[in-house]
């Protein structure tokens, strides 16, 4: 069982933006890509989506870049995961069209649904701000690395 790389990257982008040292200086996609050593192309899609969801703002132009559009305390981790995961179809019968003969009567779907809600309920208890109670340590890793990159 795992989350998609898409969700993983979405959370990493938000962590990056929320721990950026100053809100005056905008963040560049290439710097996020470099800090995490992941492709800029992958990030473009993630960032576009996070923008559409209202989490980040993109300022265009020569001095443009990215910043969080809302405060970290208002970004709920459970909500992001719900928005970035493709689905929570734990087994085949969660899909409308599926071939398992037991679908009409099987009790497995119900308990897997209940388990998934429990998973998400834990994440609902945390905001991006909670994840950054050690923001200085996070920033030190992300931005020192950036400064020392060639």
């Amino acid at each position: 069982m795992k989350l998609t790389l898409y969700t993983d990257y979405s959370l990493r982008v938000l962590l990056y933006l929320a721990s950026a040292p100053s809100t005056d200086k905008l963040v560049q996609i290439k710097d996020i890509a470099s800090a995490y050593n992941i492709s800029k192309n992958h990030l473009m899609k993630v960032i576009f989506h996070l923008g559409k969801l209202g989490y980040i703002e993109t300022i265009r132009g020569r001095n443009g870049g990215l910043k969080l559009a809302v405060s970290p305390s208002s970004i709920q981790i459970g909500k992001i995961v719900r928005q970035t995961e493709e689905d929570f179809h734990m087994v085949e019968c969660f899909q409308d069209h599926n071939s398992c003969i037991l679908t009409p009567v099987c009790k497995l779907k119900g308990i897997l649904y209940q388990a998934t809600q429990a998973f998400l309920s834990v994440l609902d208890q945390f905001t991006l701000e909670d994840l950054l109670s050690n923001k200085d340590q996070v920033a030190s890793l992300l931005f020192n690395n950036l400064d020392s990159s060639p």
Copy 2:
């Protein structure tokens, strides 16, 4: 987020065996494959593993076949899912060797671990017997289908 097909098939095999009408008559792999419309080859691997885990017994020979090795009330769904999922590496940093620069300080791993435990805790509350409180309905779908197949 989803479980592997391997876990899905493992649970389906156990549901099939536990709802088979009589414990005297052994179950054939080809009949399980036919009822669920999945390949026999896929099932062979699943069944071999469930046998090694002690859930099912294979009797060889002319009148051979499969049966549950333990009672459905002693088969915990949470335990099976733990045993059949490859891992619960929710995001990259759950792996020992990973490239995310934040790994040493990131709090995301902790809350995803907590959420995964909550998921499994729900499944721990149920046994295979609980999933078959409507065993007659399940058996009717599985074995009527089998009888009417060409």
